[in-house]
Symmetry: C2
Subunit: 421 residues, 2 copies
């Protein structure tokens, strides 16, 4: 499939003591990998290293020889003693130079942002600073005809610089390269194992297939193809997608790539002119937060009730105190009353209600931690689902939110009679 | 400081195509690093590699020689062709053996979980399976007297296995080791640069100091010390913490280690017997979700209103339509009315209201994207803060939530007259 063009592969070095200590998660690898891949550049490996100068220098030298380009994140702020500059100079036998223009420009930008900075900083000889637009550190250089980019550690700055500086420069340096395409197929209700069994029966040579079990309870199938040109790659990918979706079963597939459930459901609500409200107990706003994470959600999302206490359930949603007394706050009856109450109170077409025991305490033998009831009131009927979800508090909450969106998606998809009243 | 005991350092190899492609973020490094560090084991580096057999074998061989232990995550499921087993056998010249007992046990556990699995899987000779409790794959082995752990890729399974299997085994293998201690100091209202300037004036030899600018708008100072025994390490750490907090200014420090703002505020509300309600517009439930992420939040969190539409603001919170008309939904007056309305409607002691423009659209010249007003109604007075926050939609939302919690924290901390009415 890939005959003439070649694959351009890079190495990423993350200076990340705080990642290795577990203070933070490294999101730079994922951001950089995704951004570059779309344009045909692969991050073949990412090394999360501490700020040890000699180990950094060794890794830079070793991987520079074996990669088409190199990117580093972190380790260039004065607070980290500019370790990446030291390591680069050690690796390539370069001098450190006091780049006064860089310091001055940088100091000015920091001051403009209302911060103060009195340190000087050196660059390896031959390095050129990145962007002049924003007060972000970073420089690039070329060693043995291979480009090298040193970025700061802050994820938002990395995202900006990769898009604006690294990618255009790389394209310039490597105009000829293999075309890659990648697709995520989002599957509901089937486990990774079940999906792998169904897809595994297909003969998909020349397509990379991966499986991913998302913690909130969605399964992803990833398809990767490469070809000499974009049209061919698109063709391969579309054909593979068609076959995979058929093998899985169309009704389990909720979307592809960035089509999160909240976006798919939102688009359906908008196109039908329907308004949505939610009533949440154990998820305390997480369902609403996912819904409004989509820009333009105000087209269909009306309001939400976080009815954490029984008092709130009664006062805000008109849940009958007898129902709470007889069946408990975590029950099919309460979930139903919450959904119906939210629908009527907010005057909307459809409403979701969630009540459950997220833990770590509050479980009983009849209703263990993870017991969740989800109600969906739509037209004149109300559907309630009962789940016993595994995992810690936050995971139970995430899975409850996913289950609620999934229920709404299924009702909207499979029951074409549901429309704005 | 560390004279007799030695530091035990390991290498982590993450088989993560989907991380390199940007589908997911690697959280295993952070989880494993944090769990092991608390017991004196360092993850000195983490390599995120693709499922390339020869590169994996090379990395395993190279780093096994240079580490006290090795951990891998991912690449052992049948769906990935068991690449980690192949790579291990290549690296150490081992045979693959069909471990029928492992297969049977595993098949049984998978079946018990309601899944089906028909594949056989091999292990390197000498490998011993991990846990019998749960249907998680994984094995351990010892090569040249160094322990080696192969874990699955799923983060929840990794967290469980590291705690339950890896850590006890490592402690057994390396009973003597250096004591490490680490502390995070959480700073509000000061930038990373400002904090670094204040702390940089101290002479803190033998203490590792790091700075981290959290995306939601909190600055972390991390302190790391090591010593021959726990008491000495605690002593060093406490002394360093005292000096650093004084240098920063006590009033800017909201907590340490796992004391998130929502936990600190929650504890203050509980101890004063106060009840909280929130009213959210542009953050649509994210503030409530952060508050209830703390177990036991029902002690003080009463309810929340997600008043996304103007209609909801009027109907649920009694915001005067004239106020919305004259000043707009994003205004000081509306934030004030939302906070007061929530406080009265919910019958609580204190209420927060957030209204703003999260973007990407909706900004004007007077009120650009990122404009946020936060109201806090407490006793007989209401404080409103005005912010213009930078970043994309989700970042503006996260920073708004942080600003709201910070405002409440400051009012509760610095104004001791605020109590349950």
């Amino acid at each position: 499939m890939c005959r003439t063009a070649r694959s351009v592969e890079g190495t990423l070095i993350v200076v990340g003591n705080e990642v290795l200590y577990g203070d933070v998660v490294d999101i730079n690898t994922s951001t950089i990998g995704k951004t570059l891949f779309q344009e045909g550049f692969l991050i073949a490996r990412s090394l999360v290293l501490s700020d040890n100068r000699s180990e950094l220098a060794k890794a830079i030298r070793y991987w520079h020889h074996r990669s088409d380009f190199l990117i580093t994140t972190g380790g260039l702020e004065p607070a980290t003693n500019n370790v990446i500059c030291d390591a680069l100079c050690d690796a390539f036998g370069l001098q450190q130079v006091r780049n006064r223009a860089y310091c001055e420009t940088f100091r000015k930008r920091i001051n403009d942002a209302g911060l103060s900075w009195a340190d000087e900083t050196d660059l390896p000889e031959g390095a050129v600073e990145l962007t002049m637009d924003r007060p972000y550190m970073g420089f690039r250089m070329v060693v043995e005809n291979k480009p090298l980019y040193c970025l700061p550690g802050v994820p938002t700055e990395v995202a900006y610089l990769v898009e604006r500086e690294v990618l255009p420069d790389l394209k310039n340096h490597y105009p000829e390269r293999t075309c890659f395409r990648r697709r995520i197929i989002r599957v509901q209700r089937l486990s990774e194992w079940e999906v792998a069994k169904r897809v595994g029966k297909l003969d998909l040579t020349a397509v990379g297939v991966g499986y991913l079990s998302r913690i909130e309870g969605e399964t992803w199938v990833t398809l990767t193809v490469c070809a000499d040109n974009g049209n061919k790659a698109d063709e391969f990918l579309n054909e593979a997608e068609r076959r995979v979706v058929n093998a899985i079963g169309r009704k389990f597939v909720s979307g592809k790539d960035g089509e999160e459930l909240e976006k798919v459901v939102g688009d359906m609500l908008r196109s039908r002119g329907m308004k949505l409200a939610v009533a949440e107990s154990c998820t305390g706003g997480m369902l609403a937060a996912r819904i409004i994470s989509v820009p333009g959600a105000s087209d269909y999302f009306e309001r939400g009730y976080i009815v954490y206490s029984n008092k709130a359930k009664i006062e805000e949603l008109g849940v009958n105190p007898d129902v709470l007394e007889r069946y408990g706050a975590v029950s099919e009856q309460t979930a139903r009353a919450m959904a119906v109450g939210a629908k009527e109170k907010a005057g909307v077409d459809v409403a979701l209600g969630i009540t459950g025991i997220a833990g770590p305490t509050g479980g009983t033998r009849e209703k263990p931690v993870g017991t969740v009831f989800i109600g969906c009131a739509c037209d004149d009927r109300t559907v309630v689902e009962h789940h016993v979800l595994r995992g810690e508090r936050q995971i139970v909450q995430m899975r409850s939110v996913q289950a609620a969106l999934r229920l709404l998606w299924e009702l909207l998809t499979h029951d074409s009679s549901i429309h704005s009243s």
